[in-house]
Symmetry: C2
Subunit: 267 residues, 2 copies
Amino acid sequence: VALVWKAPGEIWERLPNLKAILSLGVGVNHVLGQKDVPNVPVARLLDEHCTQAMAEYVLHQVLRFHRLDPDYAEQQRQRTWQFHPARIARDRCVGIMGLGELGQAAASMLLSVGFRLSGWSRTRKAIANVSCFAGDAELDAFLQTADIVVCLLALTAQTEGVLNARVFAALPRGAFIINCARGEHLAEDDLVMALDSGHLAGAALDVFRTEPLPDSHPFWLHPKIHITPHAATGTHAPSAARHVAENIRRLRAGESLLNVVDPAVGY
Amino acid sequence: VALVWKAPGEIWERLPNLKAILSLGVGVNHVLGQKDVPNVPVARLLDEHCTQAMAEYVLHQVLRFHRLDPDYAEQQRQRTWQFHPARIARDRCVGIMGLGELGQAAASMLLSVGFRLSGWSRTRKAIANVSCFAGDAELDAFLQTADIVVCLLALTAQTEGVLNARVFAALPRGAFIINCARGEHLAEDDLVMALDSGHLAGAALDVFRTEPLPDSHPFWLHPKIHITPHAATGTHAPSAARHVAENIRRLRAGESLLNVVDPAVGY
């Protein structure tokens, strides 16, 4: 059994008896994108700690925009005392792109606080109190519902660059974007244009096409972009170890593994 | 019936037939502190919108500290890519001072996200999943539990200046303070000393002894203080109007009013 994050590609030919590949992270795009990966089950790491941390990250970033944190921080720098009436959560709709385990956990936490929720996914889902949209045909209808969009999609050939100028234009004016999936989901120049035109009001980004984000990258100092360094969630050893041990036990017992990936779909 | 916020003191003698005073805000310290207030019921405005907005404010400020927002904002200004492992909510205890309607609403929302909760109040309360402490004798035991302290006390002679050097010293090193009750709860110089010594890690303040906060006040530019301009909650006309109308109806019907204050206690 190989426990891997970003394994060097040449490692696979030296593991002739491999029975399974267990990713030590949520994503598997770095494994599935390699050449000569053995034809064995590949499982993602999706434990309770990781899911909870991601849901909290999303909630925090949603509340930052919902409660005008960037505006109040700027007012503090200017020593300006100006009150803005507080909207409450039920007056705001959060649209989640990607309704897998992470998207559903985030939706559930946001619902418990009182937000309205919509969701968009490749295949149709039915989730209590979430307006669910599916597939390309319903993408625009989904976007029109969302005051704040959260990307929690898996990275596949179909979702690469999905956060682009066409999608931004379909959002209501003043919408916010939160990307905590993969940097490749975002068309970076399109985002800067949508922010600078005033159509989008802000973005919180945890992932980037190049990580660490290069010193010279314009995102660092953009006044409407909030950056976290791929910190939304991470592998928590005590929780991850239990998940890995359980998958090894299942393998030995001939049972199906937890969180196995379909290579044809990419997640 | 007088609907008031900060009414001029001389108004009361001109209202000889007054049957009730309905505050248009949550606090009534500005009414009870006046001279010659007629001996009629005084009711606070505590409607669903106001309570929800306050609970959301508390949750947002707790998440700001819990998820290291001030650190990541500073890293962004410095273009520094440095990941800090995410703690999850159940690893953090939020201590709420004041377990009235607002304190209980905040506790309930924080519990739903997964935080551990403790609470302190003048009279003993019993709230599911909240470790409740009461009175001066149990204040230190309460403070020792709290990674993040939220002040939602009413302002009375007993609670004026309750957030002071002695209380800060009893908190664990690295604790955070959130004050969204009244500016008079806080000993301002004590807070700056506790932050500058490194004992406290940060403070989020929505209320101040003088509002608007004066231009020259040192809080504005303190790197560990986050300021909002008395914006945690506010009177929302559609919701407030229903509350006021219901209290007038009750008065006419001879029923007891909602949210009546005990002048002897101060809230």
